[in-house]
């Protein structure tokens, strides 16, 4: 994995978030978040429920208008030129859903068209076969298992080879085999030159796949470093020491910084 502390070969960040503020009425969901993701980097955004992860992703995806701040995707401002920015993004939403009446093949054809890709029927079938769904071409999305749905969602998210892939809790609800497969696919995408921003509740996932992670809570970015760097940085923090059971882990750092009360 890349060492994020060492400057990347291309220093221009693929994602540049500056002073981002997201509000829902009087409630502030994201407050003055600044973040850069380098090319070829896998970046994890960690936080408890309601911390502001999905709101941050929604602002990057252009699904909501920030109250303040800018989001540049590969140098393109998502607010000023949303279509150009979205064409550079691949997105897997927390709960992806597709039209219930469409078959898998028709779904892939639709999304290829939305990214202006001219691909043949045989090419579509090949891509579907490559994710192990060759026998399911004529089935609808809802008739697939959770793992199959997740693979199809990922195929569609990367169908246009985006420069930045956004994954919102991609392994939520997956069995260990499917989770490992997804991690391998994420790593392959990075090897292909892509950059990935993922949100997760799994510290194991963050440690296994992420080059750098940031912890967000109450809309504020609390800390940011490599998984090992975060542990080293907060090892002696009294809040972390208090919750650690043995050697300090990333989960101890997470709980120490965000508190141990249950969030809804």
């Amino acid at each position: 994995m890349n060492d994020p502390v060492t400057p990347a070969p291309n220093p221009t960040p693929i994602l540049n978030i500056a002073s981002l503020v997201v509000r829902y009425g009087a409630r502030t969901a994201v407050e003055d978040v600044n973040l850069q993701i380098n090319r070829g980097e896998i970046f994890g955004l960690l936080g408890p429920n309601g911390a502001g992860k999905t709101s941050t992703l929604s602002a990057i995806e252009g699904l909501l208008k920030p109250a303040a701040g800018t989001v540049l995707v590969d140098g393109v401002d998502i607010q000023r030129d949303p279509l150009a920015a979205k064409a550079r993004l691949g997105v897997q939403l927390q709960a992806s859903s597709f039209q219930a009446e469409l078959t898998i093949e028709q779904i892939v054809r639709l999304y290829a068209g939305l990214y202006s890709l001219r691909i043949t029927r045989a090419d579509i079938a090949d891509r579907i076969r490559n994710i192990g769904l060759g026998d399911e071409l004529g089935k609808t999305f809802k008739s697939l298992s959770g793992g199959q749905q997740q693979r199809l969602s990922l195929l569609i998210a990367v169908i246009h080879q985006p420069v930045l892939l956004l994954l919102d809790e991609p392994t939520s609800g997956l069995d260990p085999q499917s989770r490992r497969q997804l991690w391998d696919r994420i790593e392959n995408l990075r090897r292909g030159g892509g950059s990935i921003l993922l949100t997760t509740h799994s510290m194991e996932e963050a440690q296994a796949v992420c080059d750098r992670v940031a912890i967000i809570d109450h809309g504020k970015l609390l800390t940011l470093d490599t998984p090992a760097g975060l542990i080293a940085k907060h090892r002696d923090d009294p809040r972390v020491v208090k919750v650690a059971r043995a050697d300090v882990t990333l989960e101890d750092v997470f709980i120490g910084l965000t508190g141990s009360e249950i969030r809804d």
Binding site: E61, G62, L63, D74, V76, D81, L83, A84, K86, A87, R88, L89, V91, L93, A95, S96, S97, F98, Q99, A100, E101, L102, Q106, R109, L110, Y111, A112, G113, L114, Y115, S116, L117, R118, H160, Q161, P162, V163, G192, G193, G194
Partner: protein, 264 residues
Amino acid sequence: MTSAITTPTGDTVRPEIGMIFGSLLRADFTVLLRSGRTLLLNFAVPILILVIIGLRTTKGGTTAFSGPGFVIGLALTYGLMASSLIGYSNTIARDRDAGVFQRLRVTPAPTWAIMCSRLLVQIVVDLIMTVIVVIIGSIVTRTAFTAGQYLLLVCVSILGGAMFLAIAQALVALVRSAAVINAVGRLLYIVFLLLGLLGASGILGTTIHDIANWSPVGAMINLYGGVLNFSSWGWTETNGLIATAAYIIIGALIGIRWFRWEAR
């Protein structure tokens, strides 16, 4: 949109609005034609009305309705109303609830293209329904229509389709819950149906008759009757045209201003 995107592998992708819109249209047509409810609402309901009332009229049965224009107009009106108030509104509400729109909105597809594609597909299906109903209507009522009358019927159907779609769009804009939209859509259908049938027949008195003439159903029946018997075009038909235009404008304004892409 003209800006080109270079993928991590060096390929250049240039999003094309024509291809995006074409892909949306193809998918929306597939969804509509695969929906059994749509076929039932769009085709079975008007044909059933046509056959039942049309045959009673031609056999001299005791009915308050008379004339091929009235019968065909009634059948077309209920076909348009059912497909919009029950079919279109429920599909939009279901897709919004399921996150289908969210998935589409993170692609380079402009939001106007996503919505226009759905509306256009519905209008085209309405027009196909018009041609089929008029052909069956001319057989059932033993009436021959001129090419000019066919053309005028198509024009009125476009207006009628637009009016009921505008009302349905206003409904999905003002109400977020899919269950409530389903209930309100059916309630409106029954209210319009009774107002149109009983009010237009005159059996509830002149006041209700006048109100019915300005209702969506009354306006449409008068317009269909007017174009099939153009020589008798009068103020009632002109008022129907004014009412239809007003419903389209008001429905579209509400439907665009207050529509939300997310259910929550």
